[in-house]
Symmetry: none
Subunit: 429 residues, 2 copies
Amino acid sequence: MNRPLSYEPTPVWASRLSAPNSKKILLIIIDGLGGAPHPDHQNMTELQAAKLPNLDRFLREKQAATGLICPVGRLGITPGSGAGHLGLFGYDPFLYHVPRGRLESAATEEEEMVEGEVRARMNFCTLDQEGKILDRRAGRISDCSRPAKLLNDQVKISGAEIKIVATKEHRAVFMLKPPINQGWSPEIIDTDPQTTGVPPLEARPLKRSVGVQKTAHVINEFVRQAVQILKDEAPTNGVLLRSFTGWTHLFLPDDPRRLPKFNTAYAVKSAAIAAYPLYQGIAKVVGMDVMKGATNLKSEIALLQQHQWDYTFFFLHYKDPDSRGEDGDFVGKVAALERFDEMFPEICAMQFDVVALTGDHATPSVIAAHSSDPVPLAIAGGMKQTHDPETHFDETHCRSGWLGVMNGPDLMPLLLGAAGKLKKFDGFA
Amino acid sequence: MNRPLSYEPTPVWASRLSAPNSKKILLIIIDGLGGAPHPDHQNMTELQAAKLPNLDRFLREKQAATGLICPVGRLGITPGSGAGHLGLFGYDPFLYHVPRGRLESAATEEEEMVEGEVRARMNFCTLDQEGKILDRRAGRISDCSRPAKLLNDQVKISGAEIKIVATKEHRAVFMLKPPINQGWSPEIIDTDPQTTGVPPLEARPLKRSVGVQKTAHVINEFVRQAVQILKDEAPTNGVLLRSFTGWTHLFLPDDPRRLPKFNTAYAVKSAAIAAYPLYQGIAKVVGMDVMKGATNLKSEIALLQQHQWDYTFFFLHYKDPDSRGEDGDFVGKVAALERFDEMFPEICAMQFDVVALTGDHATPSVIAAHSSDPVPLAIAGGMKQTHDPETHFDETHCRSGWLGVMNGPDLMPLLLGAAGKLKKFDGFA
């Protein structure tokens, strides 16, 4: 009686019930969707302040079911973007360990990591004359391929091959390639202190091993040379590294921590449309087809139109509300939400059987950072809920919705069920 | 640091906290209780349309705590009746695998399965002249012991002993007894296609093994002979088999998938009162005492009165709302709910310390099938909630209740706690 039973995570048990059909599901993840009351704006949240006539009409007409969602499935936890998305895709990030560095690098055209390689997410940043961080994102410059090239051309560390791949705006991937017969170790603490006014941190080993100490030494030498090489390149005169990832994080084929493939688990054919590399990387890691070429919401919607008949599951990512929230820009975040609402009718004009709207985490502009607040969620198609004529898509309305406060890894079964893609469950034989 | 912790399901951890007392809990499961807005009935659900003055008064006077419940503990999943009940009894059906065939057969007076035996749920059905299914339930005839006897007398398959046990209405249990030194295999796909207008399916092997193929062959031969024998017996001129179950599904005593006994886990003495065999079978499988003899709600209540002092936990099952919902009969389901309300005062007149009302799944008549919607729940005794004078027991009211949207396997601890049958928890030693 006291022997434990094995616990099956969502993609495993859902695969036992999945029943493919031709119905189409669209999951729109509005990055940083949720907000918090702002004292300078009549204590309204960004969603409450935003005029969203198209979304509001959509909820009423489609009798959308609403609720709040904890993307990573734990109240109180502030999700990073990688974990938030994995949770919404059904992969409990407390069970499936996928470091951010791997997600970031997956979106590049580079090969998957090889044995002994270490990668990390890199930000170009702005340092002041004393070497303290002025801006963790170098003013969100539009492109960082110039400073990346400078580093690739000029960094010279004996016995270490380093490659920087610029991805989007201030973002890049740091790659430390393994020399013959030798490997690097990813057990290194971030150099990004996640705040301004202080210098970047030393890369410190998390383990007392010669290999890890050697890796930390190389990374610190890289950072030292980078600051030299970039000294006249403000705003991109510094670098911040986080989420060091090694080859071992890919897991062997029989390792239960290896991610089950999205399409196999849920019996769908899935496409990802995202302008930013991290979100393309997450989609690629779970096995979605990544539609390339979009640079903003408008071109994302064009891609969706182009591919709308080719897939049965679509993940569409909209970045702007998170960026404005991170900047502490209440008005900018409201405007970003309203821009989404303006374009939403183009999405509604396409034929999806189930449309879900949510976020990977809240980014209240009042705190200018991700928060642990549960995020608004609406699902149209399937379960029906009656909305009064005053319905507005925001935290308060969603809180009283049919779905309650749910956990991220429970979302996929809900969407599959709403689209008739799950068999009735009467026990497994 | 990398070894996982084991997960303890409800009956296991609850047993560590259970503290018996003489208080009495009554759990009423109204089959198919939940509904959905019906466009032909002013977009009301069946509960919203039903007049339930006694229930409504009960909620107010007892300050019942209300909420919604996902019986199998997963949003988006449509529960079958077996899985829904197991979930409400605390047995997560995604962990404890109990096939429907075993639940159905447990209610008969037959012995438990022996090694090599295979059983299944059987429906007598109505076939048209081309052999296509007209009615999966043979018009819900009141008794099928005549066609069952015809099959028992006339089916002859060399090397196979088949027994059909009529249970209630169109329902029966199919038993394929093992010959000496030989066993049958349950890895067979249902012959019930779960729809009409098509012929029954072939019994196909789920595994490539001689034993399974032989079993499938015998089942197909049985179905062929049954159609011959019953050809003039319309509406019971066909058979549908589902949920083939073998002896191996009973699990050995040390198998963690074996169900912990209800009485031991929760430290109660439990009685089940149900007119229909499946629900008696579920109760028997978890170890409740099954009170026999009831044929409808009225005689169920009489049994409850008779045994009210003999037990500390009572499970009372009311079938009619599900049957009418499955038939797509909105008015009939409303009437079935109102019949319950009329008899409810007889239940209230007895002395239970905690009374809970819920369902094993929703059966909205608008879709004439089970649905994945969470089901209304009310618990009187224990936690108190204030209700305004307009309170009506329905989906909308329960949605805004104290309990939120909860999971089936969390219900038993809630009921035990409300009855003071759980110790304060301050960590396990």
